[in-house]
């Protein structure tokens, strides 16, 4: 059942099943994203969470911040956890053995939504196999990557999502290093290429766009991947009150483009159409430099010997933005 959302005030006050009183850092984007995802529906939700900041900060015995069924197993298995809960739900529905209260909600058209949350470490790196397997098998669930481009929970080590030039604790900037050497992995396209019916990139600062995409994801049948930009006050080293501003800079510089990929399938599951839609176009595309300047993890790039990395960044972002626009135009 698609929830009708009138405005931000109403949205921010509605149906809060994720308690704000948790141990996350002030200014953490994870909190904002999780609330936006959960508030996108009034249907029952079952959540699986990978080991990471979200998990260690929200389920410390004997307390829990979750007013939904929730499970954490390990770092690398949030996808298979959510996928198997989904399979278990289907089996019990088929057998007519769902718990009575759940059956009643299903009868009212309120099917449980099954969502996995994991950081980029648990998604791009250690959890990738489990994620890929679950998507290939086509389970009906949504996977949300809270992408802060770093192993924040273990003290800020680089992941395969860390962008070039970022200083992390295992790719530190130094007298002979500008920090991380590799470009970020393209998870959105990788997951779309699994044939998932719906894949999207979102930012918590563009809440309407995020909620709309989550709602679309809840309506399709099959695995859905949402890549959420999650500015990290601790590891990106911006002030807690600047989280939304930094997120906006990412979106408006097209470092973090907002778009969706829809794989339309026929009744046999064969994809007959792939469409990429850019869902947000900055009125004025700001230079990448402004995004980088807002985050001390990139501070060293502004030294003369590292300026070429900023130029490289701009080129890479421009090329990617152009690629996305071309795909959108071509309808592929």
């Amino acid at each position: 059942m698609v929830k009708k959302i009138k405005n931000l005030k109403e949205f921010s006050l509605s149906n809060d099943r994720f308690e704000g009183a948790n141990l996350m850092c002030p200014g953490c984007s994870h909190n904002i994203i999780v609330r936006e995802v959960l508030n996108a529906t009034d249907d029952p939700i079952i959540v699986a969470t990978a080991t990471g900041c979200l998990e260690v900060c929200t389920a410390v015995y004997p307390k829990t911040s979750w007013d939904v069924s929730w499970i954490h197993i390990g770092f690398e298995n949030a996808a298979v956890a959510a996928a198997t809960v989904s399979a278990a739900y289907e089996v019990m529905k088929k057998k007519g053995k769902l718990p009575p209260a759940t059956q009643k909600m299903v009868d009212e058209g309120r099917e449980p939504k099954i969502v996995a949350f994991a950081g980029d470490g648990g998604t791009y790196d250690i959890g990738f196999q489990s994620l890929s397997g679950a998507f290939e098998r086509g389970h009906n669930f949504m996977y949300v990557c809270l992408d802060n481009e770093v192993y924040a929970n273990t003290g800020g080590q680089r992941s395969s999502s860390t962008p070039i030039g970022a200083s992390t604790t295992t790719s530190p900037a130094g007298s002979v290093s500008y920090g991380e050497k590799m470009m970020k992995k393209s998870m959105v396209e990788i997951m779309a290429d699994h044939g998932a019916p719906y894949v999207a990139q979102v930012s918590p600062s563009k809440w309407k766009d995020l909620v709309k995409k989550v709602q679309k994801g809840f309506e399709v049948n099959g695995p859905v991947y949402i890549n959420a930009q999650s500015a990290c006050t601790t590891e990106w080293k911006h002030a807690p009150e600047d989280t939304i501003e930094v997120s906006d800079l990412g979106v408006d510089s097209c470092v973090w483009p907002l778009y969706e990929i829809i794989n339309e399938r026929d009744e046999h599951g064969i994809i007959y159409s792939t469409k990429l839609n850019i869902t947000y176009r900055p009125k004025k595309k700001i230079p990448v430099e402004e995004y980088l300047a807002a985050q001390p993890r990139f501070r060293h790039l502004f030294k003369p010997e590292n300026r070429h990395i900023i130029d490289l960044w701009q080129k890479a972002v421009d090329a990617r933005w152009e690629y996305l626009q071309k795909r959108e135009e071509a309808g592929v």
Partner: protein
Amino acid sequence: MAKKYELNEVEVWDGNMAAAHALRQAEVDILAAYPITPSTPIVQNYSKFLADGYVDGEFIMVESEHSAMSGCVAASAAGVRAATATSSQGFALMVEVLYQASGMRLPIVLTVVNRALAAPLNVNGDHSDMYLGRDAGWINLCSYNPQEAYDLTLMAFKIGEDLNVRLPVMVHQDGFICSHTAQNVRPLQDEEAREFIGEYKPVNSMLDVANPVTHGVQTEEDWHFEHKARQHNDLMNSFGTIKDVFAEFKDRTGREYDLVYTYKMDDADVAIFALGTTVESARIAADQMREKGVKAGVISLRVLRPFPFKEIQEALSNVKAVAAMDRSAPGGTFGALFNEISAALLTAGKRPVVLNYIYGLGGRDTTITMLKEVYEDLDKCAKAGEPVVPLQQFLGLRGPKLSFY
């Protein structure tokens, strides 16, 4: 509703087929698995049952054993009956999640077809995988033949799911010698098996969305210790349920199981203590030794965890020499069975000679002749009242004799 599978009073099944039928009759809701020799036929057989309409649960062929056990954990937390099968390297890949399954108190059933651990890569039977997981907080049941693999797999569900237990259960069988050797098996009919195991009783089901529950929390120094102590407590107390289930099974089938298995131990002077299929070979060796006037017996564990310490003390109370047979590379010390038996004897105030034999690694045949050599060693030590052979020997090894301690 799944079709009824018409079974003969006596079927000819190997251990894998026996385990697969037990999983089918248990009406598992989610079976998540990944193939690995020698347990692969369990999931192949199960898939065929599914394809022919004999299973109405779901079989999920995942992309690794790590995901197989993770899937079982999630399914079990969702409030449904979950099971899987594995061996060796697959078991090793599962180990992280084995601890999560027991720590989260989820009554998953894992049928383990025991196989060596690489390197060198080896697909044949030994107990390296069993030993790797023995501290993972699971109940461990041991079978010696396909009939027992079948019986114990059925009982595993009933034991683990008991509300006083709520722990995962492994059922071990030897790779190839049990898993691929067809023997007579007397199965229960489907409805009898269903009635014996009973309906699954979900506890804290995630699918009960009206009553949200948090599974898999974090505990640090403030609560972790209490959680692990409680888990150990309930594992130790599962002896009662295990015995009750064994007793009920005996009432239904006439087949008797005890925590410790003994053969001609009442008057035995010397005993072989082994696990798995070697128990059956040792019985023949013991009989042959008895013909020569040596009072030989055999002892084994039916339940490896929780460890039946007292029953072992009792069973070994009159022996003069016992051989602890460890089918796993000991890694720089005595075999685990040797250490555990020695502890039981020492605390009972008994001081028979205890010898340690490392045997059968990577599927090396252990013959009746070899086992009789063990009895000969034991007989010499029993008569001397002290060890007259090295404490640790490698049995059936080619090349120069290898011994330690």
